[in-house]
Assembly symmetry: C2
Homo-oligomer: 485 residues x 2
């Protein structure tokens, strides 16, 4: 670990300014790149100060992943947010996106660093990033890394928030490795899922630095709901499947690499890990977020280490980690999002990915983002990176939504984020549908069998109705979305 805070969080040579002064440097239609992933490590002072300006702004904001209210809520409530990429979790901005007043598109997390550097969203004007310390040409990120290395490289100007509430010991978890652009970049030289190939600092061109703003506001991270009885039943089915698969699959003979999706379902499944009998296998986490559910598995020694791009912990989880950072820092590594979610690493390491979805159709296509094909929830996030590249991609979801009023297993999903070609297995509280090596008709049988019993007759009637006309993947387009039949 090369980082030494030495003379404190801010080296004397670095120019400082107020949040309001930093905000005044923003142009009326700037493209702003912000730090933040998993609801932590986002700017807390400059973006609210931009929102407080009394002139009209029409800004584009691009983040690593989910950020806090000081970015999304502040800017959208001030009417200053015009465009937003690649992921969001805040109700305020989601409402504006669904109203069509904010232009949004969700992108695969692993690609965004390249997409920004290649100019896919235009020429970025300014990066606003949170750090725990800054010096001449370097900064150390805080509770998430996300796309900060690429953002700092791509933006014309750089504003750094140094947050004194974030512990300096976070430097010990960071492993910053920056990739060159195609076509002249080599493979990522990571030989084990929890290895290290970089250091804590992100380098930047000092000529781009507008200045440093000091803050003290803590993250306002996700709150996870307590696991439900349905979560527990899903975890039981997942456990039974994984224990059998581990004995069979040569990829899992000596070690198991796991990833869980972001959110309460993922957190509940992470928390249920300790029930699984992994025998004497080494178990590692190679995912995009590190959530509360993993802390106990690290404490018990079940997990030998964890790789992610964000410490997406609750307040309590953050406290637990910060209180014992010396010990956790040896086991937890944070990477840039284009490394944590990299397709090559996911397939090389044989990661077993467990993600959720809004709904899955009877042929194994999954919708992870849209209600009724129309209203976006969050965004695809890293789900596509993992489902597509895992050799064992599992979707775990309750069989129903809205207190049983809606089946999450449907004849046809009106939005597809993960195709039938990507998923291996679907788990609900009613069982496991192993889709590997199966035809569409066989898939329909297996997925109907894990639907809520109340909805199975409807799915069977659909398969029968669609099947009369034949076809490889029988559909009746006139009634595919009709839930009354």
């Amino acid at each position: 670990m090369s980082f030494d805070p030495g003379g404190g969080r801010i080296q004397a040579s670095v120019p400082q300014l107020s949040a309001a002064d930093a905000a005044e440097t923003i142009g009326p239609d700037d493209i702003i790149l912000v730090s933040g992933f998993g609801g932590v490590g986002y700017p807390k002072a400059v973006t609210p100060a931009i929102a407080d300006r009394d002139d009209e702004l029409s800004l584009t904001v691009i983040s690593g992943g989910g950020v806090g209210a000081t970015v999304d809520d502040a800017l959208v409530e001030a009417g200053k947010l015009a465009r937003r990429f690649p992921f969001q979790t805040r109700p305020a901005v989601r409402g504006a996106i669904n109203d069509g007043t904010v232009a949004f598109h969700d992108r695969h997390i692993s690609r965004v660093a390249d997409e920004v550097r290649l100019g896919d969203f235009g020429d970025p004007n300014v990066a606003i990033v949170e750090a725990i310390a800054v010096g001449d040409g370097w900064l150390v990120p805080s509770t998430s890394i996300g796309n900060t290395p690429a953002f700092v490289e791509a933006a014309d100007r750089l504003i750094i928030e140094v947050n004194r509430s974030q512990p300096l010991e976070l430097a010990r978890v960071h492993d910053v490795y920056t990739r060159a652009l195609p076509p002249d970049r080599g493979p990522i030289p990571l030989s084990t899922p929890t290895g290290r190939i970089g250091g804590p600092e992100i380098e930047f061109d000092p000529d781009t630095l507008v200045g440093v703003v000091e803050t003290e506001q803590t993250d306002t991270p996700y709150e996870f709901r307590d696991p439900t009885a349905v979560d527990a039943a899903i975890a039981d089915n997942l456990q039974e499947f994984l224990e059998a698969e581990i004995r069979r699959n040569p990829m899992l003979e000596r070690s198991v690499q796991l990833q869980f999706g972001v959110g309460s379902m993922g957190n509940a499944l992470m928390g249920a890990l300790s029930a699984i009998d992994f025998g004497d296998r080494t178990v590692r986490y190679f995912g995009e977020v590190f959530q509360d559910g993993l802390l106990d598995s690290l404490d018990s020694g079940l997990l030998s280490g964890a790789s992610a791009t964000s410490l997406a912990l609750s307040d309590a989880g953050q406290q637990q980690l910060f209180d014992d950072i010396d010990r956790y820092a040896d086991q937890v590594v944070l990477r840039p999002a284009d490394i944590s979610n990299n397709p090559a690493l996911i397939e090389r390491f044989g990661v077993v990915g467990i993600n959720s979805a809004v709904e899955v159709d009877i042929y194994g296509n999954a919708n992870a983002t849209h209600i009724q094909g129309t209203r976006v929830v969050n965004g695809i996030g890293g789900g596509g990176d993992f489902n597509r590249n895992c050799r064992l991609g599992i979707i775990a979801l309750p069989s129903t939504a809205a207190d049983g009023e809606i089946s999450r297993i449907v004849p046809m999903t009106p939005h597809v984020d993960h195709t039938e070609h990507d998923l291996s297995v679907v788990v609900t509280e009613h069982g496991v549908a192993d889709l590997r090596g199966s035809s569409p008709r066989e898939r329909a049988d297996r997925l109907t069998a894990i639907a809520d019993p109340a909805y199975r007759p409807r799915l069977e009637r659909y398969a029968e109705r669609a099947g009369t006309a034949g076809g490889h993947t029988p559909h009746d387009l006139d009634s595919a979305f009709d839930s009354t039949l």
Copy 2:
């Protein structure tokens, strides 16, 4: 190049047998792995002999990619084919799949080698592969490599067809590199798209060898239709887009890596390459099939080299290549399909992928496989490997099908193979829709603008009807598939 045929095509120590005797070794429900990709390099004698058996068989056949009539037509016509993966192009087997009498699922090409070795399709019994030469524990493949290395490793038994009609000089194009299984495999050590990291031989365990069957039957490769006026207009639009993009995109500053999809459209676009002004950039092909359209570009020096897994040439193209194999062998390299289509290599090299589709919806989701969401055409093939991992993924397609009776730009596609998150650009004969950095509503405008003018009002009416209810991705599920409104 280490290969020396030395004592001829078949070393004396290798057991030989007749096709009929080889066919008799097949069990009633065997899982058979066959060579072949792009309609070349498939078995020609043993599979017809299996079809000729007069007992009942219920076989599973897994190939690299498209094979010839001697595999698919023979077995399906004999009623001996029960299951088929991961790709097919023959009308006989396609009919049986759409009738539901053959179980099929199309898989991403890059994954199949791993999926077979990990047992996703069950435990493979026998591999039947075509070679140009065989010795003690090694064989040299013929006109395609496909999944032959993984198949030979995974199957309990091995039957080799040595085809004397295939030129021995093919050994000079092969670059066989075999990956270990996850999790303990390193990065693929290929530093340039047309580099070499292996040799011509595929190694096998001599204990698995049932025997060698001699054949002389030539490949019956694809026939490409002549380019149409619509193809030419699409090529013109693609040219204009690429010439502008090359000047803008830092990824394309010094070299351009191209991939074209399989088939007549891809072949026509390859053939139109010579019109594009690439300046002094190095231009390479990094794709899955090498088709006729590339020969002229190699001859003219426009292309400095080409990497693929199959020489999917017409009869005339094969003749041209074989006649001048000494020269072409320095420029063309064939790899296993899990290397030619590898996600990590496609994204490292910044490949620009140009693939086709059955239809694209107004939000940028593409259906590449199903008519009316129901009847399968071929399979996804490598389209997902390239679209998903290219930093510039282009879908090129005519704006209509069936002599203008059907629009290929639709409100909602009832089958999704490539999601809105994957594609960058769509090209028709009416223009280019650059989808990068755009929201769904903006995408709908851009894609409607390149639809056939006769269908634009219908698409606009749909967007208006769907838009009344709001939402990020406006849809009206009651009329999404109704082409009368």
